[in-house]
């Protein structure tokens, strides 16, 4: 156990919800892949904003509007630094990962994808990183190609080169699989794609809370993530995009704030990043997200990730001691996500009983139906851990699963 474990008791106090009970038992929250809990500083930031600053941004002549705008733009700088992007103009606020991917699929697709062209995704993508590309392909008469993964849940990266053709316009791949836990070698994937002049979008929904992200070092063309999965509020997300792409892309939605001049004859668009931020932005969400990122940094991103890996290894070892339990996603480089199934017991049944014991897990296909189909199973039970989880909580999960086996045996 690392020295980080000695800090957990204090860290847990920062998250008010972690002290609640469900069905009279202390909550074990293992559904962090779906959404994470929020530290008090995030909640305080939001409340303070509403109580003392709130005004629409970029619009008013008055003091509050200026302060509000300043907070919003400060948040953008926090994100820029967090991703190590070159410029704040490359940071676009959206409502979440899904919106970010849809934005690129539309705005990039409109300009660069035409009939007969190809878009590549992988077999382990979340539906949010499949459907927007399918819609684009339908709109344009383009083709969607899929890079498969192997039995351990590792992408067959050696096949990538043969999938890319002169007609390939973009590759979109997840940083971390939300079902398998696999951490993909995105730097290598980007390098291969770039060798063929294919830009790459990284779905960072799960990856963003697994170690330090450096979009320049990765050379990612786009990186998308959601605030709510990284200890921030819901309804706010980010799209990082290289300026050279964003400048060439057409706006996605029209409205206030994204324009320079409007007349019925012609409208000219505002500069980056505002061109892609139509309508009143979720500026309070942005401030909350910045607070979450600052909190995450203060906890120690690398230490938190190392601790989560320890916890993952412990949980994996303990769960595998249970007879008839099979882990889905068995590669070596994994984020703290464990999907498993029990022989002859439906994941939903397992989830129901664990719920009754106060243990929150997710069951089903986790919005990755192709992954579930690949393994020919009915879904999985997924425990996704965060740095505020403990060894004792893992023990409770393991006891819970043993109890499930007993009840259904």
């Amino acid at each position: 156990m690392s020295s980080f474990s000695s800090k957990i008791a204090d860290i847990r106090k920062d998250f008010p919800i972690l002290s609640r009970e469900v069905y009279g038992k202390p909550l074990v929250y293992f559904d962090n892949g779906a959404t994470t809990q929020k530290p008090k500083v995030v909640l305080d930031t939001i409340e303070k904003f509403y109580n003392s600053i709130n005004a629409n941004i970029h619009r008013g002549v008055h003091k509050l509007s200026a302060e509000s705008t300043e907070e919003y733009e400060k948040a953008r700088e926090v994100i820029r630094e967090f991703l190590n992007a070159e410029k704040t103009s490359e940071i676009i606020f959206t409502s979440g990962t899904t919106a970010s991917i849809n934005l690129v699929a539309f705005s990039f697709g409109e300009v660069f994808v035409k009939s007969g062209d190809e878009v590549i995704v992988t077999e382990m993508e979340h539906h949010s990183n499949i459907v927007p590309w399918q819609l684009l392909c339908e709109r344009k008469g383009a083709n969607l190609k899929v890079l498969p993964f192997d039995e351990n849940g590792e992408l067959k990266v050696d096949m990538l080169e043969s999938l890319i053709t002169p007609k390939t316009r973009i590759l979109s791949v997840t940083h971390v699989s939300n079902t398998l836990g696999t951490v993909n070698p995105i730097k290598q994937i980007i390098e291969i794609a770039h060798r063929h002049n294919v830009p790459v979008l990284i779905d960072g929904a799960q990856g963003v809370k697994h170690g330090i992200i450096d979009v320049q070092d990765l050379d990612a063309d786009f990186y998308a993530f959601s605030g709510h999965k990284i200890y921030g509020p819901t309804g706010i997300g980010v799209l990082y995009g290289k300026e050279k792409w964003l400048n060439q892309m057409v706006p996605w939605q029209g409205g206030g704030d994204m324009i320079a001049t409007v007349s019925f004859a012609k409208t000219t668009f505002n500069e980056l990043p505002f061109k892609f931020e139509a309508g009143t932005a979720n500026y309070i969400g942005a401030a909350g997200l910045a607070a979450a990122i600052n909190y995450y940094k203060s906890v120690g991103i690398e230490q938190a990730t190392a601790y989560e890996t320890e916890l993952l290894n412990y949980a994996t070892k303990k769960l595998l001691e249970i007879d008839g339990l099979r882990i889905i996603g068995t590669t070596t480089d994994k984020a703290s996500i464990i999907s498993f199934i029990l022989k002859d017991i439906h994941p939903y049944d397992t989830g129901m009983i664990l719920d009754k014991m106060g243990i929150a897990v997710r069951t089903g296909n986790h919005c990755t139906q192709p992954v579930i189909d690949h393994f020919e199973i009915d879904g999985t039970v997924r425990a996704s851990l965060a740095f505020y989880n403990t060894y004792e909580e893992v023990d409770r999960l393991v006891e819970g699963v043993a109890k499930v086996k007993e009840m259904f045996g």
Partner: protein, 142 residues
């Protein structure tokens, strides 16, 4: 027994169990005891998509009474299915349409029949009423 007498007897049976684990154990046993639906009916035609667990349902009208057969791939869901069948099968369409299913609440399993759980049960009850409605309409036309 009337429909409500069947509900009351289920409530009686479950009142013997004082903790959730026993109640769920009972559901699991009921689920295991319910004979599986005919393999031929385990098809999309009879499927009620619940997202989390699948439910298959079929109904026939025999001598003016509705006969339900149903199944699920998850045992707890199947246990509840079995209780719903016990209450609603072999009833006239009107009885089914008038039924107030209070037993689920009384036996402390309300969460299983909540629209926030995507297990297919809420949709199944709706579908059972739809069958009743359809049979009634057919009867009135005949």
């Amino acid at each position: 027994m009337t429909l409500n007498e069947v509900q009351d007897s289920i409530v009686d049976d479950f009142s013997l169990f004082d903790d959730w684990m026993d109640r769920y154990q009972q559901l699991i046993e009921l689920g295991k005891d319910l004979p599986p639906i005919d393999e031929k009916k385990r098809t999309d035609q009879y499927l009620i998509k619940g997202c989390q667990s699948k439910v298959w349902l079929d109904a026939d009208l025999v001598d003016g009474k509705v006969q339900f057969t149903a199944d699920s791939d998850a045992i707890i869901t199947k246990g509840i299915v079995s209780l719903l069948i016990k209450v609603l099968t072999n009833r006239t369409p009107q009885e089914i349409l008038d039924a107030d299913l209070y037993f689920i609440d009384k036996i402390g399993l309300k969460e299983n029949l909540s629209p926030t759980r995507s297990n297919g049960l809420v949709a199944m009850v709706k579908q059972m009423r739809m069958y009743a409605l359809a049979f009634q309409a057919k009867g009135n036309n005949a």
